[in-house]
Subunit: 106 residues, 2 copies
DNA sequence: TTGACATATGGATATACCGTCATATGATCA
DNA sequence: TGATCATATGACGGTATATCCATATGTCAA
């Protein structure tokens, strides 16, 4: 029996992946992502729209930025945030489909 | 300007989604998911293959089960676990694509 | 029914995480 | 340059989360 046995993720891959999912594992950050899914926004616009403190938003954005889920662009004194790539949007949508699907069951 | 403004997720949706992502935000549980992506397995098979304590695996599986990422089937004294639906596999794969893609950048 | 196997659960502790407050950096404008 | 706006950072306190150990539940076989 060579390797018919399912081979699990490597430890490194698992940790990297976990960091990505963990970044999305917070309601506040998900709301950020859902906002950014419509296009780029700068920090105080986000804070204003969500009625959250600038500092809190900034901390949350940092997590998303560290995990490369969002990227930034500077323009004058504003810094615009947008989703890094379509994977992020996909993740968001697939997960939404999952919870909507199992919604009835709960 | 009626509702051209991007509307964020509802609080409830965000929390539900966050629970799903949080469940995947742990290296150990991701390894479980990666194993189950190949088909169903029972607890002691998993524990054996990963060389982890039965209790630990059981705790981890409970989280995945609560979030409906896996479901179970009893057969005698064994309980077989499998992924609930294809969304789970999709999430896993899209995220893997994302981190593999940004791998070079880090 | 007893014993052995398969799985689940509870408690305890250590760690990680989120939000807040205060402050720092960086950029523009007068 | 000084004042102000936009954003980031650091420290800290409360809460959640993971892991370990011990034990409980449930199933089968003899």
């Amino acid at each position: 029996m060579a390797d018919l046995e399912p081979v699990a993720l490597s430890q490194i891959q698992a940790e990297r992946l976990a960091r990505t999912f963990k970044a999305l594992g917070d309601p506040g950050r998900l709301v950020l992502v859902s906002l950014l899914a419509h296009g780029e926004l700068c920090v105080h616009e986000i804070a204003g729209r969500l009625d959250r403190e600038q500092s809190a938003v900034s901390h949350q954005l940092r997590v998303l930025r560290d995990r490369q889920l969002v990227r930034t662009r500077r323009e004058g004194r504003h810094i615009y945030y947008e989703l890094t790539d379509d994977h992020v949007r996909d993740l968001f949508e697939v997960a939404l489909a999952h919870v909507s699907h199992s919604e009835t069951t709960r």
